[in-house]
């Protein structure tokens, strides 16, 4: 065996417990979601379903309105990501590039906001959005989510922006580009990895957020996926694990796929922005 093969074998051996811990819930979800209700509560548990039963998903989507919940989640997460990026990118650019008074104080202020748990603010937020008549309005959550995750986004983006040499923009200015044009044509393409990572973090945070969604969105039709899943448990006299597992699968797999597919980009963005 070559030393490289031995090395990778040792690495995989060391990582295997983690792989099991991560993959076990997915395996359970998948196995249960593909089983018929009757097959779940049998004495002899099998991983492999007797038949690949897709009725749970159909039930979930057409009978229980889970499609709507996924759509709501998507709408809010995408909205929050776009809004927070739209504000955080210019803010981070200003912190990284412009000379302005109170820069350090502003950075500290952003940090302090991260020390307050969102739960503490929920009552206040509820009253505020109620005042504006925005209860049950997904836009209320878009605003709240983007505000909560913005400080992190600004910090993350600024440290990434700091790694982009200033010379490049200056060269663009001398080439005749306006500040905006240099930002769009030269600066932004170079910080795409950082922007992508930050946007993804915001998206995932917003996608998974539970407490605020539960509070602000009272209607069944406006609920997000995590809230909907919680409502699926303990509804009637039984817990329909097959349905719940199908729902969790639908809510987590897309995010996992996105993460896995842009993994390289992510590592580059994180290591460049955070470490250097």
């Amino acid at each position: 065996m070559t030393s490289k093969a031995r090395k990778s074998l040792i690495c995989w051996g060391a990582l295997s417990p983690i792989v099991v811990v991560i993959l076990f819930p997915y395996a359970t979800m998948l196995s249960t979601a593909l089983k018929h209700k009757d097959e779940i509560f049998t004495f002899e548990q099998t991983w492999w379903p007797r038949e690949f039963y897709l009725g749970n998903f159909a039930d979930l989507l057409f009978e229980r309105g889970f499609g709507q919940a996924i759509f709501n989640s998507l709408y809010i997460s995408v909205g929050a990501t776009l809004l927070s990026s739209a504000v955080a990118i210019p803010a981070a650019y200003a912190l990284s590039r412009l000379r302005m008074p109170g820069k350090g104080a502003f950075r500290n202020y952003l940090l302090i906001t991260q020390m307050i748990s969102p739960i503490v603010l929920i009552i206040g937020l509820f009253r505020m959005f109620a005042y504006f008549g925005m209860i049950n309005d997904p836009h209320a959550l878009i605003i709240a989510h983007s505000a909560f995750y913005m400080a992190f986004a600004v910090w993350m983006l600024q440290s990434y922006f700091d790694t982009i040499p200033k010379d490049l923009e200056e060269a663009a200015w001398l080439d005749g580009a306006s500040r905006t044009r240099a930002f769009i044509s030269v600066f932004l393409p170079l910080c795409l990895p950082g922007v992508a990572v930050t946007a993804l973090f915001t998206f995932v945070n917003s996608w998974n957020e539970y407490a605020m969604s539960l509070t602000m969105l009272r209607d069944a039709s406006s609920q997000t996926a995590p809230v909907k899943i919680a409502f699926l448990t303990g509804t009637l006299y039984e817990t329909e694990w097959n349905i719940i597992m199908a729902a969790t699968l639908m809510a987590t797999v897309p995010v996992a796929i996105i993460f896995a597919s842009i993994q390289n980009y992510l590592v580059r963005g994180l290591s460049l922005g955070g470490v250097k």
Partner: protein, 361 residues
């Protein structure tokens, strides 16, 4: 191309004054080199010409137009950065054509201009490569190409050769100068390397601690440095110095007595020195002669401390008293460490400076 006038320019960062009343006039088609030790303000001055630093006081004019309030986009200058600052996500051709694209020139014209610049710089085969696929020297050429592809009022160079190896640097020195002449350009070139300054410039501006020490042609600065700083900064190896005073000998003639040498030296004809004047004597390593026992007048007895043979010249480090001097000879000097040696200073090539003001006498 255009002239650049810098008058009474001041730059302050908070309470720190980094440039203090700078006056330089760069004539049309002139190659001016700003040289000085790091931190002397030469790069700041260049960035102020470029519009990348604000001007705290005074005025910068390009082609007769005051540009203090004009942004770098509107100054019509091209700059080559020390880091080259090539756009990493664009190919060499896109890098070079970017400025023309911004001016909305037709694609055909941009391609033609890029090809023309690439031919001049021998880059034709590399146009489709990204900066990361190019060597240091090639990147440097692309950066040059980006500057020459349009016809700017002036070129600004910010230590463009400092990241290259010695051989390539020597080659690029010549190439940049030839390009300057061929384009009929006006160039301002910043460097801390006095060899670049000496070989490339029409005129050199020597800067130190935010002020201009002297402006002149390379030969003027080399032969008649205005003060101790310029004398010590230009020339390699650097000029040798020793403190001394003007004394009157037994015959009533004025002569120089060096602090650490018992013999006196003939005083060059400066006309203005009186007995007792305290001076600093400067002598270039190339202008010191090694002589035998037969020469008596105006010699210094010294001891050889170290010898460096470079093949075509010999550098001797010699000492007398606590003073160490370097001597450069184009002859093979066969001496060993510890040997006694007699040095003769050519009176016509002695530089004298006032000890207090450090100005040339």
């Amino acid at each position: 191309m255009a002239a650049i006038e810098i008058s009474k320019v001041v730059k302050t960062f908070g309470a720190v004054k980094v440039l203090d009343g700078i006056d330089v006039e760069v004539k049309d088609r002139e190659f001016i080199v700003l040289v000085g030790p790091s931190g002397c303000g030469k790069s700041t001055l260049l960035r102020m010409i470029a519009g990348l630093e604000s001007i705290s006081g005074g005025q910068v004019a390009i082609g007769g137009r005051r540009v203090n309030e004009v942004g770098p986009q509107e100054r019509d200058l091209a700059m080559v950065f020390q880091s080259y600052a090539l756009y990493p996500h664009m190919t060499a051709a896109e890098n070079m054509g970017f400025s023309l694209k911004l001016r909305n020139r037709p694609a055909g014209e941009v391609r033609e201009a890029v090809l023309d610049a690439a031919r001049r710089l021998h880059l034709t085969a590399l146009l489709d490569r990204y900066p990361r696929q190019l060597s240091g020297g090639q990147r440097q050429r692309v950066a040059m190409g980006r500057a020459i592809v349009r016809d700017p009022s002036a070129f600004l160079f910010d230590e463009p050769l400092s990241n290259l190896d010695a051989k390539l640097r020597a080659h690029m020195r010549i190439e940049i100068r030839q390009l300057h002449d061929a384009l009929g350009a006006t160039s301002v070139y910043v460097t801390h390397d006095q060899v670049e300054a000496m070989t490339m410039a029409d005129r050199i501006v020597v800067m130190n601690a935010g002020r201009i020490e002297q402006v002149g042609t390379p030969i003027e600065l080399f032969d008649t440095p205005a003060n101790l700083f310029v004398a010590g900064f230009l020339g390699a190896p650097t000029m040798n110095f020793s403190g001394g005073a003007v004394v009157r000998d037994d015959a009533g003639e004025l002569r120089i007595a060096l602090q650490v040498s018992p013999r006196t030296l003939p005083l060059p004809d400066t006309g203005s020195l009186d007995e007792g004047a305290e001076i600093v004597l400067g002598m270039r390593p190339q202008h010191i002669e090694i002589v035998g026992e037969d020469v008596q007048d105006g010699v210094i007895d010294a001891e050889v401390r170290a010898i460096e043979q470079t093949g075509c010249e010999t550098n001797l480090i010699v000492a007398f008293g606590d003073v160490e001097w370097t001597i450069q000879s184009h002859h093979r000097v066969l001496a060993a460490t510890g040997d006694a040696i007699r040095l003769r200073l050519d009176p016509a090539r002695v530089h004298l400076f006032d000890k207090q003001t450090e100005k040339r006498l």
